[in-house]
Symmetry: C2
Subunit: 363 residues, 2 copies
């Protein structure tokens, strides 16, 4: 087989990996140590999606991972965005949630303890400390850019920083703030939208447009994310100017992933593209496979509490739905390429990507 | 320079062109004979956007074009979708339009003569007759699939048929109906959305997802459209499985294009991606650069008459705005890659695409 020198580049060197393939840091139980270690051991970059983790959970998983791989792996954190806790909004959302709780035989709730911004921010700062203390080589961010102090502190410890952007403007802001790498999240991407400057609609840019615009305007390596599932997507991203790819849905359905079996099956059995954007689960827009919860919440979408308040309000519903193997009330995050997902091992996925990339290169 | 055999394929053979580059059939005055002939003469496929043309205008342009090029060119028609003429909706839209008319020193209007479905359908059938009589080798469709009778008639005359799809389901429907080629319009695309089965939101699929899903499921050649501006986009589309590309915005800002100078400048001077989807201009969703008209109409968006009724209602406003060189009330259609547009000749654009594609191939 021909050599594929374009796949060994500034990105693979920075991240100290063999192939320019990053496993997207899917939060909420998907990125088990098994998944992350398999990716890193197969030559990609495994990532812990630590957004919802306590510092203690983070430390435990990091230590577990160090036993499972001697290769690089990274960790992703959610940059806290200011939010208000509005009692009226919470009450009215809770009332809607109670109808779902009835359907799922869950106790109704009147009051729910929700986080406030200060506590979320404090946790974030503790997470940063764990990253430093555990000498994680790569730390990535979603939902914004950390403060200059945090960035300086991480850089002092030689941690490679990677930010997320959904538009050119956001990519430029990431580079300016000192990020070493910028992940551009196309409108194709599953899960939460990472936009933090541009508004929701204007931040839905397809990768065919987003990648070349960004690489023409920033100097640091760009990683493409959204709808990339195989060697075709990797090579297309590289043609457009990206140095590598970050893949979520493709890893989510892998055997090693910790995603719920119902979630995996919903993706594997999808017919065509049937994903939609919703903020009903968390208060933040995210892409997933349409189910009853999304449909029934459509009408209420613009009057819900912000992230992460709404996320806390739906927690028992998502959990119970999972326990019942009921796909209708779970957040079935998926990118627009669900139809291309396969149930396979991480090693097979990565090897197939590389083989296909080589075939395309030699065509 | 290395050979680029992947650019000579079943598509270039079917269309009898040198390069797999199709100029998108932008309706409304953009596809002047100068533009179309320049594209065909430079080795691509020039296309007349005849959607809004009378049969007589079509025939005149075809005859003019035959003097300007001996190469293949094609023509695009809008497949009529049934619509209702609702007097109340028209009156209420007209009231809103009157405030814009005031701003533009246009006479207020109380009643406007709008087309009805029968007249639109009759015109379409006459357009089909012109295509046959003038022996146009390639006929393409947007907004749906013509009836089996129309398809049979065109095929009897050996006309190559190309349909437009925004989702896998729509692509499959096009192939089933007998289309020889399917254009997949990604969410990146400028101008009108071509969805005709899937609903608006669900039909916004990025090319990174749309191309591979479609090529895995249909047998006829697939052409990618949306956000493609240069050799990077062409090679990315080919990596994803398309046989060629259809480019609108890239040709719109060419020197030979008939687009209004104000429209060209709005695209050339855009900062980052600032396109939005609106149905305010025509009653059908379309992507363009945000201006006052779009912003002010946002609130009314869901109560407007259907296409093409609303299009008729805004005609005087768009026209007068153009006459005044006022960008704020024109439909500034553009794809999400506006930032990559250049003012150049068609030949330079096409030559640069091919050079860049070769460089990428030999990297």
């Amino acid at each position: 087989m021909g050599s594929l020198t374009m796949l060994t580049n500034v990105l693979t060197k920075l991240l100290n990996i063999e192939y320019p393939i990053i496993q997207a840091p899917m939060a909420g139980g998907v990125t088990t140590s098994k998944l992350v270690a398999s990716v890193s051991n197969a030559g990609g970059l495994g990532m812990i999606g630590a957004g919802y983790m306590t510092p203690t959970q983070m430390r435990e998983q990091i230590r577990e991972l160090k036993q499972l791989t001697s290769n690089s792996f990274g960790i992703n954190l959610f940059v806290p965005n200011e939010f208000e806790v509005n009692e009226d909004e919470i009450r009215s959302s809770n009332q809607i949630m109670n109808s779902f709780r009835d359907e799922l035989d869950l106790p109704r709730k009147e009051n729910i303890e929700v986080p406030n911004f200060n506590s979320v921010y404090e946790t974030f700062m503790e997470q940063i400390q764990v990253v430093i203390e555990e000498r994680i080589p790569i730390c990535t961010f979603t939902f914004g850019i950390p403060s200059a102090d945090v960035i300086e502190e991480l850089k002092k410890h030689n941690i490679i920083l990677m930010g997320t952007a959904t538009t050119l403007r956001e990519a430029v802001a990431n580079e300016k703030a000192g990020m070493d790498i910028v992940v551009v999240q196309g409108s194709e991407a599953g899960g939460h939208r990472g936009n933090f400057i541009d508004k929701d609609q204007e931040s839905l840019v397809g990768l065919m447009s987003l990648i070349p615009q960004v690489v023409d305007n920033i100097g640091v390596p760009v990683v493409a994310a959204g709808g990339i599932m195989d060697g075709r997507g990797l090579m297309a991203s590289i043609c457009l100017g990206a140095k590598g790819v970050q893949m979520g849905t493709a890893f989510l359905t892998c055997i090693e992933s910790g995603a719920h079996q119902v979630h995996k099956e919903a993706i594997l059995n999808v017919e065509g593209d049937t994903t939609v954007l919703t903020r009903a689960f968390s208060g933040k827009w995210a892409r997933g496979i349409k189910n009853s919860f999304i449909s029934e919440m459509q009408a209420h979408q613009n009057n819900l509490p912000s992230f992460p308040v709404q996320n806390t309000l739906t927690q028992d519903i998502r959990k119970k739905s999972g326990e019942q193997h009921n796909a209708e009330f779970m957040s079935l995050w998926s990118g627009q390429s669900a139809a291309l997902a396969k149930s396979q091992s991480v090693e097979t996925l990565i090897q197939n990507i590389i083989e296909e990339a080589k075939r395309l290169k030699n065509n």
